[in-house]
Amino acid sequence: MRLIATLLFAALLVFGIWSFVDSETFLLGPMPDGYSWWWPEYTSTFGGDIDFLFTFISWLILVFFVGTMGALIMFVFKYSKKREGKAVFSHGNHKLEMIWTGIPAALLLIIAFMQMTTWADIKFAGATAGKQLFAEVFASQFDWRFRYPGIDGRFGTADDIESVYEFVVPVDEDIVFNLRSHDVLHSFFVPVLRLKQDAVPGMTIPVWFNSMEEGTFDLICAELCGWGHYKMAGRITVVSRAEFDQWIVDKTAEKYSNGQENQ
């Protein structure tokens, strides 16, 4: 039993380390084109900060994981052997207690401080205040709708453009949009952008991001919103500024040719 127990716990340790060190292909070998068991590559400006924090914390907890699990395995292996005599008669050690309270406390405080600026950059009101509003995003059961100010750059005018499912944005620009819902909670989640924000009925929440790469990415609803939650998909298409302007023009033309100016 002693050996089995030791091996069991050791297996968990080895497994754990392996999953960290070889995170890309862990267990199942190389994945097709860019997929991995790890986070997808980030494309937003603040993605790097988030990934850095994540990696930093990962290594920190890996150290604690290895330390504590290692000690556990060692003690189980060493002290479950049949031996003569009694166990060490000790009720604790004050100095040791101070050390293992102090070191984690310091590390935890460091983590706490490290993330404050990143958080403030992403979510604080200051990050979006006073910036040009790019679009309004409405979530509802079970689709995404995007409203653009259109050619005149103002909301609430006749040339506003509405798009369902597809959110087209220009690359390398700060995109500020208002997130709204008029039925239940939803959540705007784009894994590659490292962006998630719930849409709360009754609230208008300003959100921003800046995608550094062109491409199409999944937009996912990440908050339970009813039976169709699993299929509430959208798509973000990041294009160059020129393409984006062209898209707006095309959309406007389409709108008027369909005679849909009933705003």
Partner: protein, 128 residues
Amino acid sequence: MSEHEHPTFNANKIMITLMVLTAIEVAWGSLVPYDWKFALWGGLLAFAMWKGILIFMYFMHMKFEGWICKALIAPTPILIAVVFFALLPDIALNDRLIHEVGDQLDPVDGTIVEIGYGSRAVNPAAHK
């Protein structure tokens, strides 16, 4: 049976104080204009607290209780404060709320009251 000599306090006096305070309170509530929030609320809250403390200390004789009963109640004021102050920024002072103002007819006296929230739109600048 009881563990200690029972506190003797003049219950009649406390009762009369409570009565008087209530009377003043009602007067305060009706005399101070509804818009003088600070004076109205401040005064009323002070009176209510005063009365509450009188009841708590004397009628419930917490004043004469041992430390143990005090300790049992001690966490509650802290938690009350925690709940209240954590709810404030999100519910009471939430500047992301945006609702159209809905005028409603008062069911009792038929006057128009505003229920719901004013348009406190975010980023008015962004909207131009």
